[in-house]
Symmetry: C2
Subunit: 146 residues, 2 copies
DNA sequence: ATGGTACATGCAATTAATTGCAACTACATT
DNA sequence: AATGTAGTTGCAATTAATTGCATGTACCAT
């Protein structure tokens, strides 16, 4: 699989450059196990090239996000996480604001929502990786009991 | 209308306190025209009471968000905005990542999504104020032309 | 292969947001 | 009304993220 060269191609055709720093950030994202923070990616890259700057990491993540190669998600823990989109495929999270439990949500729900919005307004939404907050079944029942 | 005293009641029954600082922040949120940043709220409150601290503003917004009295939304401009939920009712935004145009989205779409999720998993999602990014009809057509 | 240029980088400085802690205060209970 | 306590505040320090700018470099066109 030539994900690496594919990505380089995408960068070039969109007027961006495939710099060594970017390739290292890409590698960190692709080999990482999803949900990486900017700081974690930074640390990873620093191992082989200690002179990268954190601002380069943020800027690269911004570009990759724009190109929809990575998704950015705040899981409610306070830090923003980044994930290589093709790595895990589209997926979503339901996060309980009472007990912080995280469960996953099938993409189909959002696929349908996206299709509806698209059909009625022409706007094509990016629904790659959502964090939806709310109250889980257990906490809700417990709250009702009081 | 006794929104003010209602809110105070909500605060008290949930184990929080109705401090003067909070009442001023509440007033700023209720009189403001939606989509206020923490800094804007801070400035507003400082007019009558210059000794508040920005951390108090953030902490109060956190509490109000938890109680779902305000919604927090990143409109993609880089700053997080807060809005008094009952002030404008539930509404959502479609934001084009190409031309930055912002249009609104009827709540019904998300109401339906919420009902579905609730029915199948028991998880009750908060879908008060979403910012959905994507590509608007105009930009999409323009992109296809190339 | 070379050169020009638009894009990227690193650094430093700035702004946004969070956190630890001692002092303080709202308010439920008495 | 007085009191105890849990919750809150302001301050200072920290961490996260962004931005301006001069220098550097990828890569397209020749």
């Amino acid at each position: 699989m030539s994900c690496e060269t594919d990505t380089v191609k995408v960068l070039r055709t969109t007027g961006h450059k495939a710099t060594p720093q970017r390739l290292m950030i890409l590698a960190a994202l692709r080999h990482g196990s999803g949900h990486l923070t900017a700081t974690e990616i930074f640390g990873e890259v620093q191992v082989e090239y200690p002179y990268v700057d954190i601002s380069t990491v943020y800027r690269t993540l911004g570009v990759l996000k724009e190109l929809r190669l990575v998704s950015e998600t705040d899981m409610g823990t306070g830090d923003t996480t980044y994930e290589w989109v093709q790595h895990q495929g589209r997926h979503h999270h339901l996060i309980c604001r009472n007990c912080d439990e995280v469960t996953s949500l099938d993409h189909q729900y959002l696929e349908d929502l996206g299709a509806e919005i698209m059909a009625e307004s022409g706007f094509k939404p990016d629904l790659d990786h959502f964090a939806i907050f709310g109250v889980c079944a257990r906490c809700r029942l417990e709250a009702e009991r009081n």
